[in-house]
Assembly symmetry: C2
Homo-oligomer: 422 residues x 2
């Protein structure tokens, strides 16, 4: 496949964070040329803002099916009376429907790579492959039975899952023990050993709520991060979702370990966790800081543009300092910081993999004083007109090329009906 | 003009907050019938979410020209080194360009009525009329010369402005003394007398920052709200923008007065004011609470859907309570609360004025568990497909019918160039 995008502004996110003006040419899976390009191409676009695709480092894809189901409830009540009872009824067909819906929402709002964590992860991985999404598929490990299988089957099935997907280019297997409050030390240890054995990533929740911190502290005499560390889970291959209630000492521990923090401001605010992932301290310590939406049940969407804006604004307000978490730092979290951690290209440079999105310049992006500011503070996911993943044009002019959007929406609606009627 | 919208979900925002399924028929400026309607109509739409147009109760329209100009700066530095110097260079032509841009952004994201406050307000009012927008045009009164005229001319010119627009159906004149820190007691008094004499609204900033509160307290021995009250400005016809730093006593004063609070969460967070407009207390006291975007220079957009989401989430997080500021309360702020205060219809009921918007059901609004939740937490302004103001179809399928969107965008870009080059 060949794609030529003419006469555009290019937010490269290269080392110097250069903004270029010109053309971009993509062939097969690579960015071939940037500048003044005169070639024939299968797809020709023009007058766009070109930027790297966004990377969502923490989500639960099939939870789109619970979007708007039980809002405005305290976290505990939301989980126990709404989410957990309905999750028990999930089956493979519903998972497919919810995951497809998640991917069309994500892709149409500019996300080209995500780190998921849920049950039925093999089904999710298959859907990712079918949709052309880059996905770090987290096989959930937890100390209770899932709607898919008995608890004791999770680790052996996860190993099979790793073997199946290890060599896939687009979908990578991840071991995802749920958290320190839902996994015993033994489960955490076995998970980390499994990940180490196959050299794959780990993904877990860490210090999302204050209650979690004190529950774990009471039970194990360790805060969640210590508990992870003691059980081999604090590594340079670990995604730590949330970290809303971590200490300054823990900031240093995380930075030293090389683990990746996934900051999920929208979900944290909606669930009223009260915590503030300490971004300025994490930046200063040199930690890897990235952004996630969390699942659509607690967000309630999967739009990384919205997440960027919330991420920048929440900290400014909290610290009474408008200069904190600036636009460039925020865009970095959603692109290159995550890209570096995952080993996925998240810049626009010749010879690199083409995970590229184009924005249509609508009234909300006019006039142009500063494109990076516009991306973080003014853009919506709906400004995304075209999405290229691994060199393949997945969405063109907001139309999906390979999948039937309406059918996916209908099937998700049907899956919800079935879920509620069971 | 006649408009028929078939087979839709209708969020009425009537007294009972009913959600209906069916058709909606609009003729001339009125909602004529809701239910099963079989008539011929000039415009026929189908399968939408129909809801009242949103009301933005605090903005500075031409500031779209400064969108992204000087972000990530502390408030004081932002104003003194960026905004004020550039505002001095504004002329009527630029004001027109910036205001047109603001209106196409607002309309295309579902706002059908706004309360503005700026210089060159007569020009702004003319543009509102030209674009078909419902606008409460606030003529700024301030104790220094504006780019338009000498300070001493403001009150007499404001009176002329009131006389010119008083009887207009779509554009209503408002007296807008800027604030207690930029207007002397005498200016406030004269402004309130002028508004009283012509029975028009007042619009002012109140307790946006902590610094403002202490500056005013030091200078006048009164906090901003007291200062307004002492000078005749705390009335049932006053819009108080921000109120981020008010006391419990002030909450009661505001509720008793019948004044309208315009909460601007995005701007407050972006400028890092640190204050939290006390919505739960204002609701409990029975105060009129509404939402605004503020100007695009501090937001950086004019999307009331985004503002609704920020408004709901900021308070949940701050109070550690996910049930605070729920979806229905948030939608009420953006519709009926403001409508009642302004005397503008903001519900979908037979016989009422037709200020109506339609949402296209995209992946982010699927599946449908709860439409009001979707409007507040999942929708984007870009879901708005059609906008009807005073019965007139202004935007259809995201295309503007009467104005040239591309030309407006080009002229705004040119105005910015001129502004920077002067």
């Amino acid at each position: 496949m060949s794609i030529l995008i003419k006469n555009s502004k290019i937010v490269t996110q290269n080392e110097e964070r250069k903004i270029l003006e010109g053309d971009l040419y993509i062939e097969d899976d690579l960015i071939v040329e940037i500048g003044k390009v005169n070639v024939e191409a299968e797809f020709v676009l023009k007058n766009k803002i070109i930027m790297p695709g966004l990377i969502n480092t923490h989500t639960h894809l099939p939870m789109t099916l619970m979007r708007g189901y039980g809002d405005d409830l305290p976290l505990e009540e939301w989980l126990t009376t709404k989410i957990w009872p309905i999750e028990r009824k999930l089956n493979e067909k519903m998972i497919k429907a919810g995951t497809r819906l998640a991917f069309i929402e994500m892709i149409s709002t500019g996300t080209t790579c995500c780190a998921d964590m849920y049950f039925f992860e093999d089904t999710i991985a298959e859907v990712a492959l079918e949709m052309g999404m880059r996905c770090f598929a987290g096989f959930s490990i937890i100390d209770f039975d899932t709607p898919e299988m008995k608890s004791e089957m999770l680790l052996p099935e996860c190993e099979k899952f790793i073997k199946k997907w290890k060599k896939n280019e687009m979908v990578k297997p991840v071991v995802a023990p749920h958290s320190t409050y839902s996994c015993s030390p033994e489960t955490l240890q076995k998970s980390s050993e499994l990940a180490k054995r196959y050299d794959v990533l780990l993904h877990t929740h860490c210090s999302e709520t204050r209650n979690e911190v004190y529950t774990v502290l009471k039970k194990y005499k360790s805060r969640p991060l210590e508990q992870l560390k003691k059980n081999g889970m604090l590594t340079e291959k670990t995604i730590l979702a949330h970290c809303g209630w971590i200490t300054k000492g823990e900031v240093m521990e995380i930075a030293k370990s090389g683990a990746c923090v996934s900051h999920n401001p929208v979900s944290n605010m909606k669930l009223a966790t009260g915590g503030y992932t300490p971004l300025p301290e994490l930046f200063n310590a040199g930690a890897v800081v990235t952004l996630g939406t969390d699942g659509a049940a607690s967000n309630n969407k999967l739009d990384m543009f919205e997440t960027m804006k919330f991420a920048a604004l929440i900290h400014k307000h909290h610290r009474w300092d408008a200069s904190i978490v600036n636009a460039q730092q925020t865009l970095d979290m959603a692109t290159v910081n995550a890209g570096k951690f995952f080993g996925v290209n998240a810049s626009i440079e010749e010879g690199k993999k083409a995970d590229v999105i184009c924005l249509e310049i609508e009234p909300n992006l006019i006039p142009i004083h500063n494109i990076v500011s516009h991306i973080v503070y003014s853009a919506s996911g709906f400004n995304v007109s075209d999405v290229i993943i691994n060199g393949k044009m997945i969405m063109r002019g907001r139309e999906f090329i390979y999948v039937d959007k309406n059918k996916i929406m209908e099937e998700a609606e049907k899956a919800k009906e079935e879920l509620l009627s069971k």
